[in-house]
């Protein structure tokens, strides 16, 4: 399990997990799960296009995911955000289908783009992933305060001179970078699951943002490494284990929130049933 090619898998998947956990905190905070889903899935069109004209896959992925981020930002300013995301996504997928139809032997690679080929990572793939990962995390550090401000209190951010639309676009570009680096190695499904499951759990364990980001990265790392270990033993796809474990983390987070809330109600002496009824009326 620790032989040469497996070491690459541990290292690369570890980098991806930490970055996804950190970026994912803001994905969950801003409620932009759909965009985090659409960018990696749609970026595969870039990979198909790159293989068609004989360029490095990473270039195609990067170009398409950034274009997708800008497209979502541009369309989203003029219409509903979910509609803009959906339309950008389907257009990218449509282009991907077109590129695929031009080149005939791409089918196995689509499978690996969507579901990942973690166990076949070469040593030469570590460097680009490490560089792009560092850039994404550095961008998050720079954007940390305005991102947090516009996510939690958009109005206050605007009054302080932070432009929400510009921050949104910048965030989408960071998201695009983080996903395009991870796509060829771990697959669209895996990175998306890592971006929502662990951060959702981390957010329900603590209210402090910096702590939640750290916790989220740690949980994501543990999830990926556990998934790789089990996948190595069973030969089943890594994506299956990551998807299931992420869902499990989300469930644990929900249970933690429910438990804390019930304790708070008990402490405040407020009958839980009454507030439940109030909540259902609010729905």
């Amino acid at each position: 399990m620790l032989s040469g090619f497996m070491v690459n898998a541990w290292v690369v998947a570890g980098i991806v997990a930490v970055v996804a956990g950190a970026v994912g905190f803001f994905v969950v905070l801003r409620g932009s799960a759909f965009v985090a889903d659409a960018l990696p899935t749609g970026a595969f069109a870039g990979a198909a296009g790159a293989s068609l004209i004989g360029v490095n896959t990473l270039v195609g992925l990067g170009v398409f995911s950034v274009l997708g981020a800008l497209g979502i930002g541009w369309l989203g300013r003029r219409s509903r955000h979910d509609v803009a995301t959906a339309l950008t996504l389907v257009m990218m997928l449509g282009l991907g289908a077109l590129f695929l139809s031009f080149s005939s032997q791409y089918a196995p690679e689509i499978y690996s783009l969507l579901f990942g080929e973690v166990l076949g990572i070469g040593t030469n793939e570590i460097v680009p992933v490490a560089i792009l990962g560092t850039v994404s995390v550095a961008a998050l550090v720079v954007l940390y305060r305005p991102l947090l401000l516009t996510s939690v209190m958009p109005a206050l951010g605007e009054s302080r001179g932070v432009r929400p639309a510009r921050i949104e676009t910048l965030f989408l570009v960071v998201l695009a970078l983080a996903t395009s680096m991870a796509l060829p190695v771990v697959g669209a499904l895996l990175i998306f699951s890592l971006m929502i499951g662990p951060p959702a759990a981390a957010r329900s364990f603590t209210d402090r943002p910096a702590l939640a980001i750290g916790l989220s990265a740690v949980i994501a790392l543990g999830t990926v490494w556990a998934a790789i270990a089990v996948s190595y033993q069973t030969n089943w796809p890594v994506g299956f284990f990551v998807g299931m474990l992420s869902a499990g983390w989300y469930a644990i987070g929900r249970i933690a929130v429910a438990w804390r809330r019930s304790r708070r109600w008990a402490a405040a002496g407020e009958p839980a049933e009454q507030s439940l009824r109030a909540a259902s009326v609010r729905v």
Binding site: G31, T41, L93, L100, P108, W236, V242
Partner: protein, 309 residues
């Protein structure tokens, strides 16, 4: 035959059986998706619609493993996923996308497992592509018939729920006050979306069926503020995009670079997006559109209130 007509419709377009089935099944999927999609867009469930289409890949791969017709897998898993989304709370705005994403991640994880089993036992990677991108030209007649039944069920749900669904989408509080079971209505709407998506997943592929669900409906809601008219427009735009896409795909057989035809899904998606952008920029300027939306929504709810009183 007139040379212009012959240039537009390549020879054999009207006599080929696959084309006829493609037009029929594709048109049906477009009508169902267009009508159901209006409610999905109105309720802000574009992501749920897309996730359900993705998850139906799981059903497709499961039925491929089990050796049953894909449509049953598509529909069965779609409805199960819709139920799961409703159970963990997609009806609340806050955290809804997150819950949808979690269900999608788990569903696709299962799909990875099924595809892995399928591809290792039969060593065909073609299954992945078939399930993900579908192909409108290889639908069998019997599949189209079952698809029609599913489509009819989805339309039936929407027709029965039409008024309560509109009211609970526009103003959940008001609907609750009127005694409409908001939660059950939403769950049934999601089931209708799942059925519509599984139908169109077979025609233009699981992932690209999002296009028919969201695009025509969003365009239609730009064109009109009346819900009934929006439903009609949405179906018309969807059918037009699908049929034109089939025609272009048929014609593209002789186009470069390879003489094998461009994919239908590309044409349909491009046409849907073009329709949306046209509707958006033709009707209003970007600055005015937001104000327009607000007044339109006010008008729509006022009309509903008037009708309900």
């Amino acid at each position: 035959m007139n040379p212009i007509v012959r240039a537009v419709f390549e020879p054999g377009f009207f006599t080929s059986a696959p084309v006829r089935i493609a037009l029929l099944a594709g048109g049906m999927a477009a009508v169902v998706s267009g009508i159901v999609g209006t409610f999905a867009v109105l309720r802000g469930q574009s992501y749920a619609g897309h996730a359900l289409a993705d998850i139906s890949v799981t059903g497709g791969s499961a039925s491929y493993l089990a050796g049953i017709a894909p449509l049953w897998g598509f529909a069965g898993v779609g409805v199960a996923a819709a139920a799961a989304m409703d159970l963990i709370g997609v009806q609340r705005r806050q955290g809804r996308d997150l819950a949808t994403g979690i269900v999608r991640g788990a569903g696709l994880g299962l799909a990875a497992l099924f595809l892995y089993w399928g591809t290792t036992s039969t060593s065909t990677t073609g299954a992945t592509v078939t399930v993900l991108f579908g192909s409108i030209f290889t639908i069998s007649g019997s599949t189209a018939a079952v698809a029609a039944v599913f489509g009819a069920v989805a339309l039936g749900i929407v027709a029965v729920l039409y008024r309560p669904l509109l009211l609970s989408s526009a103003s959940p509080e008001l609907a609750f006050a009127r005694g409409i079971p908001v939660r059950a209505t939403g769950a049934l709407c999601l089931v209708a979306v799942a059925l519509a998506v599984s139908l169109s997943a077979l025609t233009i592929g699981a992932i690209l069926s999002t296009a028919l669900l969201v695009g025509p409906a969003a365009a239609a809601m730009r064109l009109t503020s009346k819900p009934g008219l929006a439903v009609l427009w949405s179906a018309v735009i969807g059918v037009a995009a699908t049929w034109l896409g089939v025609l272009l795909a048929y014609d593209s057989y002789y186009w470069p670079p390879a003489r094998q035809g461009w994919p239908v899904s590309f044409f349909v998606v491009a046409l849907v997006l073009a329709g949306y952008l046209l509707a958006q920029f033709a009707v209003t300027s970007p600055a005015g559109s937001r104000r327009d939306m607000a007044t339109r929504q006010d008008k729509a709810s006022a009309r509903l209130n008037g009708a309900g009183a």
